[in-house]
């Protein structure tokens, strides 16, 4: 199925969890926050939250800023 990650379209198997997606993207669990369809998904729910067709994900982190 396809989802949108930080605005880019991506393919992933059905019922992929957020945790699985992060692993697939080789992203460290820590220091990343995830928003799914404009709702934050707390880290504690990453492994039991399954993605659905067309989900829009935002993966963010802290960067230098004023």
């Amino acid at each position: 199925m396809k989802v949108f990650v930080n605005g880019e379209q991506r393919q992933c198997p059905d019922r992929t969890t957020i945790a699985a997606l992060l692993r697939a993207l080789e992203l460290p669990e820590g220091r990343i926050a995830v928003e799914r369809n404009r709702e934050v998904v707390p880290r504690s729910r990453h492994s039991d939250t399954e993605l659905a067709e067309g989900d829009r994900l935002e993966l963010v982190r802290f960067v230098g800023g004023g």
Partner: protein, 269 residues
Amino acid sequence: MNGEGSPASRAPGRSLELGGVAYGSRLILGTGKYATPALMEESLEASGTEIVTVAVRRIDLSSGGRGSLLDSPGLSRYTILPNTAGCYSAEEAVRTALLARELGLSSLLKLEVIGDPRTLFPDVEGLLQATRVLVKEGFTVLPYTSDDLVIAKKLRDAGAAAIMPLGAPIGSGLGIQNRNHLRLLLQEIRDIPVIVDAGVGTASDAAIAMELGCDGVLMNTGVAGAKNPVQMARAMRMAVQAGRLAFEAGRVPRKLYASASSPEEMMIE
């Protein structure tokens, strides 16, 4: 009233309190625009700051998510103050704030709702909306706002933990453009801290803000953009302390004419 506050007026000596925590330093520094992480860390250290601002941005998927700011071990000792820089609506700022909390596990927030791309002036309407929402959400909201005291009172009444008026446009280095507005704002807002945010270009700008009676100063470009950021950070540290001390000490009144500092009698003839 010389318009310059007085020890009586704003809790002299007391440290800067934000969200129930007392900080010894009245200087808050940004982490943007440094040539290298090492230069940033050295500058933060030289400034004596205890609170640093950070921004929330998308991960660059190609990079494999490396290079988060918080990888710098040097930052671990500071209180992290996430901002909502770049947000042009209350809704966008609220989403960014919620992501920031998830990232930082703290509810401290520098709230920005920008209204104009060229000046980066705040949209105070949107700022009030977002403040009301985020205070309900349990955030300790530090709003970046204009020097308009009416808006400042509304932000305070909406539950903001401090008022952060701009001194001049972000990154302009022009210093406090309207001392009179700031003075009037300080006389009105006495129960929560007032922190000048944006516009400080050199040490005297920071000292002036503190002499007016501000509780703190937040800056980024003034340090990161200096030829020698570490030395400027040291300068800012001292300037904030000097300005605060001068405010508490109570300056000599201004006079149009001279008054001799040496005795005027017993001259030789």
